[in-house]
Symmetry: C2
Subunit: 154 residues, 2 copies
Amino acid sequence: MSARDPDCPLCQTDGGTLLWRGPHLRLIEVDDPDYPGFTRVIWNAHLAEMTSLSTHGRDLLMRAVYVVEEAQQSILAPDKINLASLGNMVPHLHWHVIPRWRGDRHFPDPIWASPRIAAGAEPAEWSERQARVRALLPRYRNRLVEAMNALLWH
Amino acid sequence: MSARDPDCPLCQTDGGTLLWRGPHLRLIEVDDPDYPGFTRVIWNAHLAEMTSLSTHGRDLLMRAVYVVEEAQQSILAPDKINLASLGNMVPHLHWHVIPRWRGDRHFPDPIWASPRIAAGAEPAEWSERQARVRALLPRYRNRLVEAMNALLWH
């Protein structure tokens, strides 16, 4: 059912720390020191674009993206949430869900732009905020698992 | 019905060349010399996140994003399509739908990264490709309008 590409890292590995896996998709915690809570929603099969999926598949995938957005909003309370499906390097359908804060290293630019603040030069305020976000991650992970299990996955 | 923010450019203006407008959302052509076909889907009301919308609203908005993706795919035939809802600068819900080609100025990076090719230093091959894409834009715009009109907007 799930076609695999031997050269695709998202076919060969989970692509990060696995938070939840279902028959169609999985949630991954991204190991990015600047962005605690950064999460990916990865479609299990090797497809490139949203419109490569059936209408039902698109809806399933976006429901998972909204679950992540809601959990970030209610537990991590970021200033903004960024959603992106790019896949230029790895054309295997996956969504980045990124909590953003005023004062983070790239704000208000996208995280792919050159950082406005050099690594290590973050103001104390932002480091304290990051520490508070990190302390909330266990609750955030639990919420994701509960919310994903509560969806009907058929 | 549609709350407006006096400081929000997407409340005060269309935000680009209007391609199609409905009661809930509009399609805008982005004037970006590097990315012919770059299109935005903008929710008319001032809301920040996908989960600020009702389930029905989210589905409507994503159906419009898929219409744009499908029109890009079938008419412009890019190597990849990038989807992003960021809104850090303008927290008014809008989607970027960006056709990408191997050899474009940022490929395979996101368009917000530093370009790999300086402006004006593009290889002839890429300039020719851009010209071919530009020649397809009238067909692309027509397809968008037809496809949006064919959706049931209630």
